[in-house]
Subunit: 126 residues, 2 copies
């Protein structure tokens, strides 16, 4: 058995537009924008969403939005999602990047949330 | 003064892949997929996210994810977002479709949530 939960929504913006995107979303949602220490490509949108992390990410790609799923077993969760039709298209540090049915991107990563939040909200999978 | 809140995340999938996308997301998040009465292009993902509506939408376009903002004054909220750098690119029924800095799509629509939820969570803008 392993567990997972939807952890974050990432607003991926082309590098040249990422600062403008972060400024827009911060003002639009009334959420302070805070650079992530040690990860300059991320600008967190503090408390933008109830129970979910929201951030703008600078990418060398077209604009897109992707979702992050956190899990206590990245291999098992990736395997579960592959079984549902996803295809692994990359790996970045401990995160697996999947293209899922419909064509969207999902990242599977180790638990990032407070453990109590994860325990309270994660779903268990056989 | 008017108010707004982030209302929904829409997983827009090409028409031929929308059913597969809905089946994937329903299983991936453990959220029952329910067609929306009277709006066959939408398949709601029930209770997928805390406090936000999530749905797969069938579109005649490339895969994308967009966000919906609900408001008690569509004209004022649209004007506020245009002032932050968004550009209106369409209108669908009462909804305004905006391209926002970074290149993503946002729809501005009249309040859809339960009024008590909207009152509790909406931000007020001068």
């Amino acid at each position: 058995m392993h567990r997972s939960r939807l952890y974050a929504i990432l607003i991926d913006a082309p590098r040249d537009e990422a600062d403008a995107a972060a400024a827009f979303w911060s003002a639009a949602l009334g959420a302070p924008a805070r650079p992530e220490p040690g990860a300059p490509q991320f600008i967190a949108l503090h408390d933008a969403l109830p129970g979910l992390v929201a951030a703008v990410q600078s990418v060398d790609d077209a604009p897109r939005i992707h979702l992050d799923i956190e899990t206590d077993d990245v291999v098992a969760e990736t395997g579960r999602l592959l079984g549902l039709g996803a295809v692994q298209v990359g790996q970045w540090q401990e995160c697996r990047v999947l293209r899922v049915p419909g064509g969207h991107l999902v990242c599977v990563l180790p638990v990032e949330s407070d453990p109590a939040l994860f325990d309270a909200q994660a779903r268990a999978w056989p």
